[in-house]
């Protein structure tokens, strides 16, 4: 990923993170506001319910109190108190309930026997336990109605005054959908009432202002929790139409504290969801615009910032590739401009130092060459000088021996001159190393030729050197100049021979190694230090007493001309191995692999 892409990514991420953070913050805040609104709505509805509950309870109490003053009721209480026939009043509760607009009315004798029941006329003669609540303002009670489902009502119990304990009135008003429908619920809110008629959840027991509730089972969780715990519980559900609802279930308890109904407040989260969707849409829009903006900004920044950096990077790559004279334009005076100036100064300095280094290396090379020439030339010249001085001395001191001395001296002079020619020839050869004339061949042929050439000599020395060749059965096709390669391998063999004056083993192995053909020439000689190994291929460097230091330089030059590589592996006392890698070619195709 380049700098421009990084800048683009950075800007985009910055914008997205910023927009997401803002959207999240706003969303959380909106949710918090809606939750607060939801709580307020629920509290308002509950307060309204409690107010209505109180009002209805007071109304029932007022009606029952009025009934206790009704002449008919007083007469009935008097009659029953004096042993009157209760069956005479079997239908009176129905009449009174209608007149006093009560859903439930039972006339009960002090022993609890029902004289007359408006809501369940057939229940006469049975016991009504609720008269124990006489005197309470009002209370909730579950009313069982024979074969019909039980109902829940607001009840008041009063004894008819004046006639002591002769008649009780147990009256009430139904707590049902009609009760709920009288409450004004704000838009998005609903109020439901669950009658706790069975031990399990009964969907038909849940009613709203409009009667039965569709898919009432969805509310079972919150209702059951309130029924089980006896305290207010909340839940969030998905309604049948996919709308999300916040539910608050409030248990309604009877006089003995048992939960007989549950008030359920359902607040729609539609507005919240819509607001969140709106915020999310805005966030997406802003993020998209931000990313577009980031692209434009990054392009602009790239033009201002990344381009000089890219130029610097390109210049650095050029320097690495060897073009030390490259310069970058300085377009600003900021840090990037200073960096460009520094880079330009650095390349100028590098060029200058390289020229100085070349100069010094050139001088050093000349010095080394002079030293080596002096050394190489000094050795044959000294015998020449002695021979000439012997010949002069013989001419002067014993002319009779001059001829003999002359003959010997001439022969020595000729031999030493030949040595001088040889030295000069070797230097000349290094300077005139020809370009390789490559051809496809089997490297084994080159190696076998070298082995055949040197093996007799090596094994017939005073201290013989055993030659071990490990060549594969299959050809080792390479594209090389056979003569140059023969000369390079021969050089390595001769070096090995010099390294083993006391004899040893010369190993020549070759094999395919990946896409190369690897040839190893190893001896069991004295070995070299790491420093010697490092300088081994430097021209004119030698570790031998008699050597030009050009042999391994020539080998390295030949290998390099064949696009190969040579390394040395050696440690003092453990011999030396030269490893040559040459590019292999496909068998028969002549192509390099």
């Amino acid at each position: 990923m380049n700098l421009r892409q990084k800048i683009l990514l950075m800007f985009s991420l910055t914008v997205i993170v910023a927009v997401a953070a803002v959207a999240w913050t706003v969303s959380v805040r909106v949710r918090s506001l809606f939750d607060s609104l939801d709580r307020d709505r629920t509290a308002a509805l509950v307060n309204q319910f409690v107010h209505e509950y109180q009002r209805r309870g007071d109304e029932v109490a007022e009606r029952v109190d009025r009934m206790t003053r009704d002449e008919r009721v007083i007469r009935m209480a008097y009659d029953l108190g004096h042993g009157g026939d209760a069956s005479m009043y079997l239908t009176d509760a129905g009449t009174l309930a209608q007149e006093y607009e009560l859903n439930y009315l039972e006339l009960v004798q002090p022993d609890g026997s029902i004289v007359s029941s408006a809501q369940w006329p057939a229940h006469f003669g049975y016991k009504e336990q609720a008269i124990g609540n006489a005197g309470q303002p009002f209370f909730l009670k579950e009313e069982i109605l024979g074969q019909d489902p039980s109902e829940t009502g607001l009840f008041v119990v009063r004894a008819v005054p004046g006639i002591e304990s002769s008649l009780y009135i147990v009256a009430g008003e139904r707590l049902d959908s009609a009760f709920i429908s009288n409450l004004s619920t704000p838009a998005g809110s609903s109020l439901y009432l669950y009658r706790n008629s069975t031990s399990g959840f009964d969907a038909s027991s849940l009613t709203g202002a409009g009667g039965a509730i569709a898919e009432a089972a969805r509310y079972a969780g919150a209702i059951n929790q309130a029924r089980a715990s006896g305290v207010q519980s909340s839940a969030r559900i998905m309604a049948a139409d996919g709308e999300s609802l916040n539910l608050t279930a409030i248990p309604l308890k009877s006089a003995n504290g048992s939960v007989i109904a549950v008030l359920l407040v359902a607040n729609s989260r539609k507005e919240l969801v819509e607001a969140q969707q709106h915020i999310r849409a805005i966030a997406y829009g802003v993020a998209s615009a931000g990313i577009l903006f980031a692209i434009l900004i990054s392009l602009w920044v790239a033009a201002r910032v990344s381009r000089p950096v890219e130029q610097l990077a390109q210049a650095a790559q050029d320097v690495a590739a060897g073009d030390w004279e490259v310069q970058v334009p300085v377009a600003s005076r900021d840090e990037v401009g200073l960096l460009a100036e520094s880079f330009n100064r650095m390349t100028r300095e590098l060029v200058s130092q390289r020229e100085r280094l070349v100069q010094s290396e050139r001088v050093a090379a000349w010095r080394e060459l002079a030293r080596r020439l002096a050394h190489e030339l000094k050795n044959p010249i000294f015998p020449l000088q002695l021979t000439v001085e012997n010949m002069i001395r013989a001419k002067q001191v014993s002319p009779e021996m001059f001829e003999e001395v002359f003959a010997e001296g001439s022969a020595a002079l000729t031999e030493e001159i030949a040595n001088l020619k040889a030295v000069i020839g070797r230097f000349s050869d290094f300077s005139k190393l020809p370009k390789p004339q490559v051809s496809d061949l089997d490297l084994r042929d080159v190696l076998n030729r070298v082995i055949r050439l040197y093996q007799p000599t090596l094994e017939q020395r005073e201290h013989p050197i055993r030659v071990v060749a490990k060549l594969p059965e299959s050809p080792l096709p390479v594209s090389v100049d056979a003569e140059l390669m023969h000369r390079a391998i021969s050089n390595l063999v001769l070096n090995a021979m010099d390294a083993m004056p006391e004899g040893g083993t010369l190993s020549i192995t070759a094999a395919r190694s990946g896409g190369n053909v690897r040839t190893t020439v190893a001896d069991t000689g004295l070995g070299m230090t790491a420093e010697e190994c490092e300088r081994l291929f430097t021209p004119y460097y030698t570790t031998k007493q008699a050597g030009t230091g050009l042999g391994l330089a020539i080998v390295q030059s030949v290998i390099a001309d064949h696009h190969g590589a040579i390394v040395v592996e050696s440690h003092p006392g453990s011999g030396t191995a030269f490893v040559i890698d040459l590019p292999a070619i496909g068998v028969g195709s002549g192509e390099r692999t």
Binding site: A86, S87, M88, L90, H123, G146, Q147
Partner: protein
Amino acid sequence: MAHTRPHYGGTLHVETQADPWQAADSIGRRLVFDSLTRVDEPGGVQPALAVRWKEQNGDHRWQFWLRPGVHFHDGSPLTADSVQQSLERSCKQCPWTSVRALGDSVVITTAAPDPVLPQELARSDYAIAAQDATGDAVGTGPFRFVSNANYMLTLAAVDDTWQGRPFVDTIEITGRRVVRTQWLDLAAGHADLVDVPVEGVRLAQQEHLNILQSGNCDLLALTVARSGVLAEDAQREAIALAVDRAALYNAIFQKQGEMTASLLPDALTGYGFLFPVGRDLVRAQGLHEAGGGAPLTLALDDANPTMQLTAERVALNLREAGFRVQVAVRAPNAEASAAAELALRRIHLESADARAALEQMLAAFGQPLTDESGDPATLYRMEASFIETHQVVPLLYLPRSYGVGARVHGLRLSPDGVPLLADVSLEDAK
């Protein structure tokens, strides 16, 4: 003396809860149609359209001689052929196998000896009717049919009826009238005769209504299907033991009539007390425990509030015994056997003869009477053996009561509780 002498003329206004024309024993039909015989107040069989009868062949063959000079309301004469056709039309669960015209008499043959056939022929089910030119039924009674619209039945007096002309000229019977409204109309003088349900007798007395009450003539009974869960005798017995007749008698029916566990009233048979009316809830619960808990339906044909209350109370009794019972009002035209395991029925007893009455009751519950002798001991054994099957649980025998206006004179009730309006005269009639 003047006010005691009956006056002719005037219109008698009658109001009733029931349809005045629908049922065979309705008040309207009893005035328009006559039977071959009639039952007098002591319960004896008296001649009506038949002036005499004679049994032959060991009560297998009965010959009834017709009253001469009787005409239907369309003017056609009463003949043996018309009587034969009428009886054949009305025969559904009739006791005879054939009816044959023989001169001025009809011969009725029964499969088994039937010593009480004359009493049975007094029932309104076997009233004699002919069809006029338009296909409507016409009778020979003291009143003829004029109109019936919106439960308002109008009958006109027939001048030349064999029984003699009735005192009133017209009778207007308004049906489907709420009891409380009837009483208000009676108090206001808009009605001369109104219904007083037995459960309202005491209240009517408190309101000082002039009440005329019959003997016990309506049996209130619970029928129990011999199928499903109730196929077991123990379950049916549990139902019979669970019913609390005392609560029905004391509270709902305001101590009117009598509690009964027999099909016939004690006054008719004298052995009614042998059938125990008490409740044994513990035994009922014990018997039911061994049975299944399938839900039962208690059906009633009459949507009357008192009948509904009675059914609810019976259901409550049965629930105490462990039965799961649901009360349902049957549609008016539903089959009597429609799907209900239990049914609350009110059966009107027309016969004043014990054997005829038992035959009628058993027929009402789909049982034949196999006794030939008709002696009380045999009747008791037959009834007891049927009651012990617990297919029917008799609850109460109830009278019929009427509120009578001040201007009505001479009103009597038939032994089966139907007002004899042909004998009524109005005080202010001229």
